[in-house]
Symmetry: C2
Subunit: 408 residues, 2 copies
């Protein structure tokens, strides 16, 4: 949580931190500015002191909505600097020199926020050489990633609300499918034309807009063989065949930027063939097993191991026994959600991802099995919140039903 920032800074011996860049696609800057609708910004925070937001004068009123103290670049005559220097790097370093002087920034400074990486390397190297501060950079999860991973009650409330709207979209989409008729073994519209995956995608986007949800990573609505490749988004030209597994997976975000939800259901129209039904039962049992097991204090890796063991016991290959596995359970078990669709904590078998579950964590649980060559894939995905007592609460109550009946 944001209140952890000073502690996290102290653990890193940071005297100050700076978070910079464009706002679009920059969750660390969004987090530090409370989602101010500015084009770009620089947030300076000294240890034990509140953050200060530095922005262009034309952004000053949107910046003020952050609730932070706002100083515009006019205070440092940035426009004057830009006219006196020959390159943007020197101008930026000169601006930061004035900012560091004005706010008495010295010692060890951490750098955060998204920037072109070659530029970041050059900029930070130049700051190190010219401004006499000690540079601190860290790999992820960094200080802000860790603060963001535990959500405060208001953040949880926002995620739940996005989940509520996402469930509405899921329900509307299933109703949309049910509003069609069957000809031979596929769905047709009222003019007797086959319904296509592309048409379903467009309809889902319509439902999303109605519910004020963005899908920055797109949606997955894929059928049959394509559902067997975890991130295949679905072939727009495919028709809606009965008895094929359909995966509908979408990471939804508050429109215009903000908090995410992420959910997946798998279903078949009219009937499910025996191999799909069996695989669905395995994934269904797996998500139920896990859903009741999450608790603060446990290591994330254990849950991935639990999912691998369970699915192997049901006869599926997993990443547990083969690191290059692309069939059966071929993905991680889950990931945190918040201002990004993939953030801390992560649930895999890697040492790197392993972490201890804490109150305030919000993450997906998404076991699945994938068999493109057998023409199907299954994934179920809920969202778990670890409450203040350390208990896992499922925030996704949308029903899990394999067969969707279309015929009346």
């Amino acid at each position: 949580m944001k209140q952890d920032l000073d502690r996290l800074m102290k653990e890193r011996n940071l005297d100050a931190m700076i978070v910079m860049g464009r706002m679009n696609g920059n969750p660390p800057l969004f987090y530090m500015t409370n989602g101010a609708k500015i084009i770009r910004g620089r947030v300076i925070k000294k240890h034990g002191e509140p953050p200060i937001l530095i922005c262009a004068p034309i952004d000053r009123e949107e910046a003020a909505i952050s609730g932070l103290k706002v100083v515009t670049t006019n205070y440092f005559d940035y426009e004057g600097i830009l006219r006196e220097t020959s390159d943007l790097l020197s101008a930026e370093v000169e601006l930061l020199r004035k900012v560091f002087d004005a706010f008495n920034i010295k010692g060890r400074v951490g750098f955060y926020g998204y920037l072109d990486q070659g530029m970041a390397y050059k900029l930070i190297s130049t700051i190190r050489d010219r401004l006499g501060v000690e540079i601190f950079g860290e790999s992820d999860p960094n200080l802000i990633d860790i603060a963001r991973a535990t959500k405060d009650p208001n953040e949880v409330k926002r995620i739940i609300e996005v989940g509520r709207r996402s469930s509405a979209v899921m329900g509307n989409t299933i109703d949309f499918l049910k509003s069609h008729s069957i000809r031979n073994n596929y769905l047709v519209d009222k003019d007797d034309n086959p319904l296509t995956i592309g048409q379903v995608h467009r309809q889902i986007h319509h439902f999303l807009a109605e519910c004020r949800l963005d899908v920055p990573e797109g949606i997955i609505f894929s059928i049959g063989r394509d559902a067997g490749v975890p991130h295949n988004k679905g072939n727009p030209n495919d028709i809606l065949e009965l008895g094929k597994s359909i995966i509908f997976d979408f990471g939804t975000r508050e429109a215009g930027g903000g908090y995410y939800f992420d959910m997946t259901r798998t279903f078949c129209l009219e009937y499910a063939p025996p191999d799909v039904e069996k695989a669905y039962r395995d994934v269904y049992d797996c998500i139920n097993l896990l859903g009741g097991a999450y608790k603060a204090g446990a290591e994330t890796r254990n849950y991935m191991q639990m999912a691998c063991n369970f699915l192997e016991s049901r006869g599926h290959p997993t990443l547990g026994s083969d690191t290059k596995n692309e069939n059966g359970f071929a993905t991680g078990l889950g990931h945190g959600i918040g201002l990004a669709v993939h953030e801390q904590p992560f649930f895999s078998l890697s040492t790197v991802d392993n972490t201890v579950i804490q109150p305030g964590h919000v993450f997906t649980c998404e076991p699945g099995v994938y068999y493109p060559e057998r023409g199907f894939g299954i994934r179920l995905e809920d969202v778990i919140w670890i409450d203040q007592h350390g208990k896992g609460i499922n925030l996704c109550d949308f029903p899990k039903e394999l067969v969707v009946r279309v015929s009346k």
Copy 2:
């Protein structure tokens, strides 16, 4: 254009370039992968050779849509690496060591794409120390910024199409306002409730969704005093008063990621007071003066100077005479548009931004005057494309009319 990459690499003596990061909010990676809908990726390009895309196995089919040669991280047993290393940085460096070995990457390597800047600094420093390549980082405009700045015919076509849909949204919005009635000096709906800026914002988002447009930076629909602060997005609780200047500015993007358009119109409902009318005429004359003047070979700074001179001659303060100016003409004149809403070329008085206009450039022309204390602001914004003959073509033909009549 993308075909310039090898020349730009040669100018920098680059043996190879690598573009990395998450896809969301990462135009350089989007550009190099032709907008592949993958979660994250690494594109390697050696000088004179086609790029190769490295992605997670679960993203393999969406990656293939890029048209690039695709290699999954399974080829390098990345999952195995992740289980053997204690931190993500070491795992990433180990992966890149294998990638560099596999594709014989050595010599001078440029690093591009958005990444957390502290992580980028640490990652690239570690690569320098461990992998024996010469690091090249550059400030913006970097190699990819410069390639992106000149659009090929297909890119121009996509921008024109986004512009067509943006004009439709502008028209629908004005029609929506006209569908209301007047009570006293403001608009009311059919139940006689005052129409608010917040309701107009919601309606615009509805029109945008219908036209399959995203607005990642949000929309500006602001009235009166708020229109006098360039990036004020408008107060949702304000009512639609007659005779106040309304600025409607929106940077629109192909839904789900892609090319941008950007346009602004200013209007008053029913009538315009004399000071607004005078200021509008000045901005209108300014955009017309400039619109006919753009041509390849000229420096961008000259156009900013031209706008300052013209608006000063009409009695407005500008950034030409005061670098800290916040009244009158208080913004840059324009910016390139493409995969980002603000990209090369830029039109300001700074040395840093100055560049030579080239065929294929697509940029905004957006003079304005801002007087928050006098209760109004004016901005008009078109999009100019420099065609293959070096001639400026206005891609925004939406009419510029100050007064919108609501009464029948």
